[in-house]
Amino acid sequence: MTDDELAMAYADGELDEIAARRFEQRMAEVPALALAVASHRALRAQLSNMFAPVAAEPVPDRLTAMLKPKVVPLRPGNRRRVWWTAGAMAASLVLGIMVGQFGRPGGPVAIADNRLVASGALATALDRQLASDEGATRVLVSFQGTDKAYCRVFSSPAVDGIACREGKRWELRHTRAADSAGQATAYRQAGSADPALMAAAQDMMAGDPLDPAAERRARDALWK
């Protein structure tokens, strides 16, 4: 380390015991070193004091809102009801539009045995993509439901939702119009976690979300 690096590391308390004692001996002989230590400490105090008020400010709502479903713990029954009552109108409207618009061969949503299922590119993405993969459709979290079936929270250009494996199909258990969170900003990217979907996923989940290795194993075993 250079002298200035030593002075800095000493000022920050980063030198081990022996190096610190050795540096103190030199500092007693070389006043410039003591001055350098003092300057480093002063700068540290200056910067740390200047930015400290930011951490003391109340966190803006738009940030806490992204975590809100977890901030106010609701009993599972309540949470589900909040989800359905608040979203029922919008959700049924979304479903109507989706089935009307996309319920045709090749679209992301189809109806099979009177159930809403993923189809086309969405089904392919749910079959193959890992949560770490980029793409028009993103898988946000994969988990096993209480019935052991694999479920995946996804975000696609047309619709966000939770799909669970039923036989060889992905049944759509929750759906929301893409970007329904209403938090569009220049930085918002397709595929952000929708807090309401994450809350719904949490209710459905048995245990923890799949880690990357478990997710890969489940995919390679074709989600059986």
């Binding site: 200035d4 920050d12 008020p53 930011v54 949560a131 946000l140 930085y187 990217q189 989940m205």
Partner: protein, 164 residues
């Protein structure tokens, strides 16, 4: 680890994340956007977080990478912008002005640093990380962190010394 614990830990980190964002971004509005973008990334990448590891290091890394990806590529048009929070909470009028001038100079000096020095300064001097922790967040050897940090500090001292 369940989702609640993940969310709770993130929530507890928000004040520090905002501070880190502010020390990286010259502009207060950019800093808020950065904090939001980093939080979105973290929520999206939650499956990649390894329970039992330190969430703050993980989150600082996400924010730093987000900053590299987005804010850095922006034009730095806001050179003369003074963040509104600078000097806030200082009651005495004369010292308030003094503090504001100081804050403006520090912001300008931070903004003039090369990104790799600024992120090292922000992590160690503002966030209070140990060298080893900061090196891990930035994914560089500790010697590299030390040399970036000392160069950043020398540059800041030189600029602030001139201004004083």
């Amino acid at each position: 680890m369940g989702l609640d614990a993940f969310e709770d830990q993130l929530l507890a980190m928000l004040p520090r994340l905002r501070r880190f964002a502010r020390s990286l971004s010259h502009d207060a509005a950019d800093a808020e956007d950065l904090a939001q973008a980093a939080l979105e990334k973290a929520l999206k990448a939650r499956a990649q977080w390894q329970p039992g590891t330190r969430m703050d290091s993980w989150m600082y890394r996400i924010m730093r990478n987000t900053w590299i990806d987005t804010v850095r590529s922006r034009t730095r048009a806001a050179e003369t912008f003074l963040p509104e929070a600078a000097g806030a909470g200082i009651a005495d009028e004369s010292s308030r002005i003094e503090v504001q001038v100081g804050a403006r100079e520090i912001h300008a000096a931070m903004n003039a640093l090369p990104d790799e020095q600024r992120e090292a300064v922000a992590l160690v001097l503002v966030e209070g990380l140990a060298y080893k922790e900061a090196a891990e967040v930035l994914d560089v050897p500790i010697g590299t962190l030390t040399s970036r940090l000392v160069r950043g500090r020398q540059a800041l001292m030189a600029r602030l010394g001139e201004a004083a």
